[in-house]
């Protein structure tokens, strides 16, 4: 009989041991380390943090989880006892929520002065911009020709001849969906609701997530819609990951539909490694790291002197003040706007 109780006892003991052991091993060697928390879309070249470690003697532990929304909610829930020191991946559509929760400690990197001024980003004592990109309408080039030209502007979508072509994502469940809604609010001002009413009458498809619209309804995935809400970098990704290889991307963007997304990093208030965390923020802004961003995350570096990979030379130049809405305004209106949108388009 005893045998049966010893097995659970031993297992439990082993579990406790194992859990205890999984704690950062580096701490034992009295070496300084810093933990970087990111969303799951964070990607870097192999060994890039080794450069940081060899320069500073600080090792980097990486933790990743879910998406931006999950990242912010997690940091708020663990604000008294954070799971890491630096958080990366908060964009301007959720910046207000993160700042309101008062989870950061202020830090302004000396390198921040070298960020491209024309970026026109939201300045904050707490958060440092690391990269940026745009959510834009993409269209399938082959669906249009000289007699039926692609829409040049978001206004053209009101034209009934572009009926039933557009697929968008629900702004209540998708990040590009939300960004595009914000673009229309900025572009049309008070008339944004009537814009969506017209779209609804003309036939607009709505999916819950980006994948369903890009790979389900958009022509790229075998669907029938020739205009989709995606990213300004999507045509570049189409080029790099095309199979068989192509010379020019099969898609292009409609410029005035773009909404700028800036991704920020910040130091969590209850960190025990503030100096290390500051050094890491500086590293995220260093030329070496900044130049690593485009091909890994399909975002643009914020650093002025960072040079772009060849594939990104076709990244469109989009006016920095296009469709600008401040994070504060987004934060105080987001839920209200998405509710009106839901009433207009879904019900």
């Amino acid at each position: 009989m005893k045998k049966y109780l010893t097995i659970p006892a031993i297992t439990m003991f082993l579990c406790i041991l194992a859990c205890g052991n999984s704690e950062k091993v580096t701490a034992d060697f009295n070496e300084s380390s810093v933990t970087l928390i990111t969303h799951d879309s964070f990607a870097v070249s192999e060994g890039i943090f080794d450069i940081f470690t060899s320069e500073t003697g600080i090792s980097v532990d990486q933790l990743s989880l879910g998406d931006t929304g999950q990242l912010i909610a997690t940091s708020i829930l663990t604000k008294d006892d954070p799971i890491g020191d630096v958080i990366f991946g908060i964009d301007n559509t959720f910046l207000g929520r993160a700042l309101n929760a008062n989870i950061f400690t202020p830090y302004t990197s000396p390198i921040e002065s070298r960020i491209a001024e024309e970026l026109d980003y939201e300045k904050s004592d707490y958060l440092t911009p690391i990269d940026y990109g745009h959510v834009c309408l993409n269209y399938w080039k082959d669906s249009f020709n000289d007699t039926f030209p692609p829409p040049k502007s978001i206004d053209d979508l009101l034209d009934p001849s572009y009926s039933n072509l557009l697929v968008v994502q629900n702004p209540e469940t998708s990040s590009p969906g939300l960004a595009f809604l914000l673009a229309t609010i900025s572009h049309f001002g008070d008339n944004w609701v009537s814009f969506w009413q017209t779209l609804n009458q003309n036939g607009v498809s709505v999916t819950s997530d980006w994948e369903s619209s890009y790979y389900g309804d958009f022509i790229a995935g075998g669907g029938e819609n020739s205009i989709v809400v995606s990213y300004a970098s999507s045509p570049i990704a189409e080029l790099i990951y095309s199979d068989p290889p192509v010379e020019i991307p099969p898609t292009a963007i409609i410029e005035d539909s773009c909404f700028k997304q800036v991704e920020y990093a910040g130091i969590l208030k209850n960190t025990k490694n503030k100096p290390e965390a500051e050094a890491l923020i500086d590293f995220l802004l260093s030329q070496r790291f900044q130049e690593d961003i485009p091909l890994n995350m399909f975002m643009m570096p914020v650093l002025r002197e960072a040079s772009l990979p060849v594939a990104f030379s076709i990244y469109p130049t989009i006016p920095s003040d296009l469709n600008l809405i401040s994070p504060n305004e987004i934060e105080s209106n987001r839920n209200n706007w998405t509710e009106i949108w839901t009433e207009t388009v879904l019900r």
Partner: protein, 538 residues
């Protein structure tokens, strides 16, 4: 109450707590504690948030939709599974183990992949426009739920049925009853424990169905599960989200315990038998294979088709590409597969271990402890990933804080979702073991604990295997809860990698996502097949 005689009662009581200790700590740590903290956060000792939600008419329509889609999905999954259950129970044919393995495949496929496969199938048969339009309807949800869950019914019910002897049926036939009325009046009532057990599992699974509802249901259909996620993640309204989580919990406890009680009430101990199975006629085999192809084949076929490269660089380049690291993902897709396999092995081992202890207490323990564990072992399946994920962050503080980022969290959470499958397939089989067996063993001087382990484990071995197979598969395919756990990017699992591959445009990445899904499905089928071989030779 307990089968081993009153004189031993107190002795057993004491030991039963010994066995129950580990399962209880397991559920407390991973389930009750996180849920408790989430609820405490919400209500803050006041019930006004609850009233607010109840006053909202939208809430009632969401709750009603959640209920009926889950009930209909459960009913249809079992109904559509029946021909195949019959095939596996009554016939012995070549390829039967292969087929058992194949029907488990849908289970591991990430829902984002299943969703897109169904969308493609609908498009191919022109079911997404015109008169029959399935796009973003409840029908699309039901189809996918049947596809995903019929295998639960097939495996649990056919394994139970195989262990039933034929005597009552033969007598009924001799007395002149028709085959059909024998089936409905004799067989179905005898199958009830397994029917209720399978129904409970499928129901819980459909309540927390997430990807299917979101992708196939479209933006207009929401369930409590998708609403919790939307409120918590998108609206940042943790309070409303946890009111929904609370309602989901009450709802799930109520319905699951009803089904579980029905399972208990209908169980009878009876003589076991190893049935001699017939060889089927060719027509029967053709019929069943066609039927299974219609049920499972089309989406899987679409997936296979998409994993192959039609371009001139070679048909299998998406597969060979999996060994190379693409920029957008921190590890090679193949190594994510190793991570998944490693976690799945650990998870199914833990699930099996906890599941066996739990089942023994459920079957032999005192009434209160038994009912408590019976319900606690199953409800984690019906509770939102958001609740458990965020609950863990709130609950694990102080000395437990390191657990939040521990690499053990992934297999432990997967095991939490695997235990219900072990328990729900093992308990009906254990319950029908004749009391005589334990009494004989007692007469021979074997202590009751030892006889439980010996008799129960040997006689419900087949169900254990089924449960272990499902825990393995559920861990391989798990996405929701895993995505909440902070982890080193080196330990990304295959479903997370598939999801990320599908998040950047480009044929190559998408092809690789499909290829990785095919391998994931293949591995599941293969491991179930191997387990079936072991089962046969035992």
């Amino acid at each position: 109450m307990d089968r081993n005689g009153a004189s031993l009662k107190s002795f057993i009581r004491f030991k039963e707590w010994g066995i129950a200790l580990l399962p209880i700590s397991f559920f407390t740590l991973l389930f009750f504690l996180p849920v408790f903290y989430i609820l405490r956060e919400t209500f803050n000792y006041s019930f006004s948030p609850l009233r607010e939600v109840f006053d909202n008419s939208r809430f009632w329509s969401i709750a009603w939709f959640t209920l009926w889609q889950a009930l209909l999905s459960t009913l249809f999954s079992i109904l559509f599974a029946f021909p195949t259950i019959y095939l596996f129970t009554k016939y012995d044919f070549r390829g039967n183990r292969f087929l058992r393995a194949v029907v488990t495949i849908p289970f591991v496929l990430p829902t984002v992949v299943v969703g897109s496969a169904f969308t493609a199938v609908f498009a191919r048969f022109n079911l997404d426009t015109g008169t029959v339009n399935l796009r973003h309807t409840v029908w699309a949800i039901l189809f996918a739920h049947i596809f995903l869950n019929a295998s639960i019914a097939i495996r649990i019910i056919s394994t139970f049925w195989e262990g039933l002897n034929d005597h009552p049926e033969s007598q009924s036939r001799i007395l002149g009853a028709s085959r059909i009325s024998t089936f409905f009046q004799i067989t179905v009532p005898r199958l009830r424990p397994a029917l209720f057990s399978a129904a409970a599992t499928i129901f819980l699974f459909c309540v927390t169905s997430f990807g299917v509802i979101l992708i196939l249901g479209g933006p207009k259909n929401s369930t409590i599960e998708t609403e919790i996620w939307r409120q918590a993640i998108w609206r940042g309204d943790i309070s409303t989200a946890s009111v929904f989580a609370f309602i989901q919990l009450v709802f799930v406890i109520f319905l699951a315990s009803t089904l579980i009680r029905a399972e208990k009430k209908t169980s009878l101990s009876e003589d076991l038998s190893v049935k001699t199975k017939r060889k089927p006629r060719k027509g029967i085999i053709v019929f069943h294979f066609t039927y299974l192809f219609c049920l499972f084949g089309l989406p899987i076929f679409t997936l296979l088709e998409r994993s192959l490269n039609p371009g001139n660089s070679g048909l299998f380049t998406f597969f060979t590409g999996l060994t190379k690291r693409t920029n957008v993902i921190p590890i090679t897709p193949i190594s994510s597969l190793w991570n998944s396999l490693y976690f799945a092995l650990l998870a199914s081992f833990i699930a099996l271990f906890i599941g066996i202890l739990t089942s023994i207490v459920i079957v032999h323990g005192s009434k209160k402890l038994s009912s408590f564990l019976n319900v606690s072992a199953s409800i984690p399946l019906g509770v939102s990933a958001v609740t458990i994920g965020f609950g863990i962050f709130l609950a694990f503080s102080g000395p437990l804080a390191n657990l939040r980022t521990s690499q053990w969290m992934i297999p432990m959470l997967h095991a939490l979702l695997g235990v219900p499958f072990v328990v729900r397939s093992v308990v009906p089989s254990m319950r029908r073991i004749p009391a005589m067996f334990y009494e004989n063993s007692k007469l021979l001087g074997v202590n009751p604990l030892k006889s439980w382990f010996n008799i129960d484990l040997k006689l419900s071995y087949r169900s254990l295997v089924v449960g272990a197979g499902f825990s393995f598969a559920i861990s391989l395919g798990e996405f929701g809860a895993t995505s909440f756990l902070p982890r080193n990017p080196d330990t990304l699992t295959a479903p997370l990698v598939i999801y990320r591959l599908l998040n950047t445009p480009g044929e190559e990445l998408r092809g690789q996502a499909m290829a990785l899904s095919v391998i994931l499905a293949g591995i599941t089928a293969l491991s179930i097949f191997l387990v079936e071989l072991v089962r046969k030779s035992d």
